[in-house]
Amino acid sequence: MAAGSRAAGFAAAAGAAWLAKRALRTRIRRSPLWPLPALETPVSGHSPRRTLRATVVARTEAADGVVHLRLASPELPAWTPGAHVDLLLPSGLVRQYSLCGDPAETGTYEIAVRRAEDGRGGSREVHDRLAEGAEVQLRPPRNRFPLEPATRHVFVVGGIGITPVLPMLRALGPEADWTLLYGGRSRASMPFLPELARHGDRVTVVPEDEAGRPDLSFLSSAGPGTAVYCCGPEPLMAAVEEAAPAGVPVHLERFTAAAPAAGRPFTLELRRSGTTVTVAAGESALTAVRRALPDTPYSCTQGFCGTCQHRVLTGPVDHRDTLLTDEERTTTMLLCVSRAEGDHLVLDV
């Protein structure tokens, strides 16, 4: 009698234990760290600086000396017109190329690269080593040349500078008010002319061997509500900036980093501390800030570890790091390498 009820109790306990174990296993299978919840937007493994891998699935000649590559991979994130990617070349060189394909085509990117014989070797490597079927590594797209809404868009491009503008034209569509002035050395050297032909007289093609340098005087009549976009060689961009009237925003995209301008002196207001420090030409913003606030965190002093990232309240920043994303650049800077673009910055320090 007593033995019978003990056995029944034992069986019930064993059954309950088995059920609990099974329930736990099901939960852990669905949620590996159950009972912890998950962060809604995962951070680890989704770094905006992670390395993506893709395959060259098509390679064509877009013009004399210009190769047009189509890269494909399920890992490629979405992008917006004006974006560029860092291509990590097999030799270890890292080069930036604008995406010139269609953002709606998920899983593929297109880039066009002009061979620069006198360059630093990046474009030669793309031309010589990236055949169809080659594996490439790249970083997720960044956009330093985004298309902003405006009543009228004026594009001025030189040569291979056409690449970031192509997706912009597609995004604006046939209804929008835009014009494109496209300069180059000769028709044979200018990529994507057939594709641009269908836009009719909104596109003006100016090959230097036929028509000389493009005339930019029309820019002076750009009215309010116009946005000017320019991508091309440095002298062209300087001329466009010069020709556009005050009050008309000019957006520039540089292929090559602006010559590492020797640091100019500027002042830094540390808003929360209520002081202002002067950054001399030969020192970093970090050095100047640390004179006033010795506890300011920093570490590598070369722009790669990210410890000295600080919030910027006002003033354009000349970002010289290799770390921050576009989003981070809109509100923060790395004090160890970056400087003021003008002569004053306000930090939330």
Partner: protein, 295 residues
């Protein structure tokens, strides 16, 4: 003579600097320790925990800097912060490689992200005592965790069995570069804790939470990898496998791990008493990843 004061070994101190590393994962196989998925995945748990964990270290230590009144210690903490930031980034880069091989770590890492960003984050505390208490508590937890990272760093620098079994050279370099920097800076977290607080009760309490959390995270992590590995049918993780792998020398041995517990809890403990800075420095001088030769 009393031996209840932490006794640092002066010769083990070295100037700390962050190294800008690069690793190329293209050729690293899923089971980078050939024929030993369990040991591979148990070590792989590091890639799940360290990106979020080391970002958290950096976040907490930035807040700790103003509490430091010793210039030499401040320099050490600054070097530590930079090294930890690079560790987080280097391990983070392994995660997309695992995903490419059919083992998406996101379900696990998103929960680790929650733990470090929310559970152990800043919380909305009033300035003053509560906020200071929570900062000191986290500084003490980091000291306890760093006892184990130094233990693991020292282990991996001496784990010759991994070489003998043909472990992938890039993965081994990542682990040994990281391990060597952990050995190099092993005293910083403990010295910071002793400098800002040093309470023995807090040391024991935070050790207990850190140790429990590490056992929980590791056990679940190994299990997660073994059950989701696309090349294994009915993969499982068990303590028995861990114990045997420790005896074989492909994972730290269980008795060694148990023996490290009373060492941290001893009142005379100082991290410089374990591990060798010169061995770490020698590895760092030769590491391909830390010297720009990974490509």
């Amino acid at each position: 003579m009393s031996n209840t004061q932490p006794a640092p070994v002066a010769s083990e101190r070295i100037e700390l600097k962050a190294r800008n590393v690069a690793f190329e994962w293209t050729d690293t196989p899923l089971h980078w320790l050939p024929g030993h998925p369990f040991a591979t995945h148990t070590i792989n748990v590091l890639h799940l925990l360290l990106p979020a964990g080391e970002r958290w270290f950096v976040h907490v230590y930035k807040q700790a800097l103003p509490l430091i009144t010793d210039d030499r210690l401040r320099e050490d903490v600054i070097g530590f912060i930079g090294q930890e930031a690079m560790h987080a980034a280097a391990h983070d880069d392994v995660l997309p490689h695992l995903r490419r091989q059919g083992l998406d770590p996101t379900p696990y890492t998103a929960q680790v992200d929650w733990m470090f960003e929310k559970l152990l984050g800043d919380r909305t505390l009033p300035p003053g005592r509560a906020r200071r208490w929570w900062l000191l508590e986290r500084i003490a937890m980091i000291a306890a965790i760093e006892h184990y990272t130094a233990f693991l760093g020292n282990w991996v620098l001496n784990a010759d069995e991994l070489d003998r079994r043909g472990a992938d050279p890039v993965m081994l370099d990542l682990l040994r570069w990281h391990g060597a920097e952990e050995v190099e800076h092993r005293s910083v977290a403990f010295e910071l804790f002793m400098h800002v607080d040093g309470s023995y009760r807090r040391r024991v309490r935070t050790w207990a939470s850190a140790f429990t959390a590490l056992v929980f995270l590791w056990q679940r992590g190994a299990r997660f990898f073994m059950e989701n590995d696309p090349t294994l049918t009915a993969g499982r993780a068990s303590f028995g496998q861990f114990y045997r792998a420790g005896r074989e020398g492909v994972l730290p041995s269980t008795p060694d791990m148990l023996r490290s517990i009373p060492r941290y809890l001893s009142r005379a403990y100082h991290p410089s008493q374990e591990g060798s800075t010169s061995q770490a420095a020698a590895y760092l001088a030769a590491s391909p990843g830390a010297n720009g030769r990974a490509r």
